[in-house]
Amino acid sequence: MSHWIIAPVLIPALAGLFLLMEVRERHRMRRWTGLLACVASLVVAVLLVQQAWDGTHTVYKLGNWEAPFGIVLVLDRLSALMVLLTSVLAFPALIYASCGDDRKGANFHGLFQFQLMGINGAFLTGDLFNLFVFFEVLLIASYGLALHGRGPERVKAGLHYVVLNLVGSGLFLIALGLIYGSTGTLNMADFAVKAQALTGTDATLLRVAVLLLWVVFGLKAALFPLYFWLPAAYAGATAGVAALFAIMTKVGIYAILRVTALAFAAGPFAGLGHEALWWLALITLAMACVGVLGAKRLATAVAYLVVMSVGTIVATLAVGQAEALGPALYYLVHSTLICAALFLLADLVARGRGDVGDRLVAGPAILGGGRLSLLFFVAAIAVVGLPPLSGFVGKVGLLRTVPDPLYWALLLIAGLCGLVAMSRAGSTLFWRTTGESAGLRPSRRRLLAVLLLLGLSPVMTIWAEPMLQWTAAVADQLLTPQAYIQAVLGGAA
């Protein structure tokens, strides 16, 4: 029964292989295979959340090798939550992409599944080198997806994205080498135990390794000064892909959170590098404000909103306040879903305006603009954090638990900048119209995909109390790493 843990990795892997083998012309079959795999992943993710809900750690030993020697997958509340979030996000993104965008290039569906495999694997693994491998799986799939649909702009943004991430992979390997050299293990739980006992040169090496890890994870999470690739890459990608990419920055945040909670919650290395993370996150937040106000396209503005959410969450984590962790996770789920919905909406707007696209200038009226403007209004309220939607609940939770004047000021200013940018974008796109539209009316299926994502914000608001209790439970479990270590290493710990 515990074999279910590997299903979120296996289902996309098998579906991806199947999709690679299929004949190129059978689009309908490819779409259904992809959607079916997404539904299956979603069902498994719900089952895994149920399994993790009672607070036990389920350890899956690959090849049945004992823990510090073999690779383990570990399911706890946090990884279950993240896998569920991935599946919930992937399904509407794939529906949207299946409305025609998937035919702009070869192998879209295969790459999409491999990307999901990499993301799910990164959330589930309990081994640092395995984390590197899953990072590479999700990255190489994301390279293909980011370039999907061709175009000079896409290739330019893609080149920067690929080169930066290759350098990042090199740094990751150096960090892993240092960790192995100083502690003699790559298993996360074993590493957490052995790191506490290090002294002298080994301790210095470990410090270097961990700071390098923060650089690598900061690059994935798009933290200042490593976020410059994100707006071009995300705004340039096909809408469905950009929506899926909304979770990619969260993989970086997850990795920081996991390693910190396990190995650096207490002991000689407690809070290593968190001072730097705190300042960098605040600068990220400030730069995102500038970016969102200066954006010339709606998709770019949304990409900066992703950066803004990263700054908010990492700043909260860097404070290290135990009570703030729950609201931060709630905000993480909320921001991922809403930013994904906004990427899809930006694409719908661009389609409706013909040649002008989603550039923030006066343009032709949008066919079916009434429905779109309503959806945009709801999404903007949610993402900025105005009452009554989930962004408000999340931000209030954060502000209540982090009593720092600088943090309060920046978070509120960021909200204001987001509000100004979104109001300006909305009024330009929907009200400053000139003449008849040459664009396309949004199809029902595309609207359905947006609604599925956007509808989760009211759901998260109505059931905010149980959601927050649940994320608090996730945080509680994270703050007691002894249970994780005990589960992985058995009696040895």
Partner: protein, 114 residues
């Protein structure tokens, strides 16, 4: 031995970083390749340097650590695939922009339409 390996890693990485910062795609690809060589040698030496020892327990008094060898094998395969992908991407970038500049334009024609 340690000094030699350290120097080799240092030279590889510094050359790699220098080339990565160039403005043309070909030097960048070369730089990333050198960087990954340096990283691979570094990873390889992390289990401790031993000469003329096998990596199998029981075959030798003082076996060398087999794990870095397994890790480096994975890293080589992944690095190789990524480099191949990057070469294809660089070619495509040149085909789309008619230049091998990493930003898709040479800087001289920045005033013009991009």
């Amino acid at each position: 031995m340690e000094l030699l390996v350290a120097l080799i890693i240092g030279v590889l990485v510094s050359t790699g970083v220098y080339l990565c910062l160039r403005a043309r795609t070909f030097p960048v690809v070369m730089g990333l390749t050198l960087l990954s060589y340096g990283v691979n040698v570094f990873l390889f030496s992390m289990g401790g340097l031993k000469i003329n020892e096998v990596a199998v327990v029981g075959m030798s008094e003082n076996p060398t650590d087999p794990l870095p060898q397994a890790l480096v094998l994975t890293a080589i395969v992944i690095g190789f695939a990524m480099t191949a992908f990057l070469v294809v991407l660089a070619l495509r970038s040149q085909g789309e922009h008619y230049t091998d500049h990493v930003d898709g334009s040479d800087g001289e024609d920045q005033g013009g339409a991009q």
